[in-house]
Amino acid sequence: MDEARLLMAARMFDQDALKTIFDSYAPVIYKYALRLCHVVIEADNIVGDVFALFLEQLAKGKGPTTNLRAYLFQIAYHVIVDQARDRRHTTQLDVADFRGEYASPVVLQAEENAALDIIINVMYTELSHDQSHILILRFVEGFSIHETAEIVHKSINNVKVIQNRALKKLRKILNQKYEMK
């Protein structure tokens, strides 16, 4: 079933369509949420919120007509930003737990793995919410600049600026960490 038909069926609250949508996108949204909040229960709650808001939009006759994935990420972005504002200060332990418990590693070189851990840590502790979101959406989830701009509700130029600053900051901190070693 193509996406347009799926969305049309979802507007009629067709159970099969809703099930298909949930099974396709819930794990993706969960992963995105977990990358940003690093706590399983919170990521699960975010998934619940995202799909509840999605249903509300369908009930109002709104919601997406195309690109459901970007639409669900857009909802997730707003939910995560809202929930993460008060949670930024208690992070360090969570990051460690998150890495140790839930990362089932694909084979990476040890050095790259260590560098990636540093990046994850820095993204969570040093970068702003927008910087983290944009880097993950662009380079982890693979959204285009245009899609990312729509998801985070910013202009394309603004997204580019945020992305470049975030990359510079990450590179600088990564080099500092390795110089100290």
Partner: protein
Amino acid sequence: MRNETVFHEQDVIRLLNRWKGREYPYPSDLQSKRRSAFLAAGASFLLHGAGKAIGKSVSRAGHADAPMTIGMKITLGVLSTVILAQIAYLGLTYYKDIVAWINRMQGNPTPSLVVPSPVPYSTEPNLGTITPTFTVSPTATATPTPIPTESTNWWGIQPTATISTPTISIPTISIPTETNPGHHYGQTKTPKPK
């Protein structure tokens, strides 16, 4: 990636791309609970929230909560207009009867409509009609009581002088308006003594 421990931006991007490879599986128990809740919410919207939903299929047209069609909206609008017009017509036709009936119900007498006479309007105050013709005639007569003399006639001398009663008469002051030459307050001409 790096031999001299210097990272470039491309290295950072490549590391971020590698992050995709890390798996974060959704715990199955949590996912199944979420899915059940989501499907239940969808079914609930279908059963109870259909009135809120817009653009629904024809298959739900006979549902009790189904949204109104355009024809139903037009009919409802026409009926509402006709009813309001009827109410307005009856109200205007039987206005007096309705008012009287309401007053009867409240126990009040029927108020008669009193139209006040129109007040003439002029741009200047009509001072010409004020004629302050007043006459002050305070004819006062002072009759002092004679002071009783004290009988202290120790030497047998009879008093010969008596105090006569004085009569004070204040002349009548009449201010005729025609002859009053005063024009301003505080400049009223003092009447000449006759």
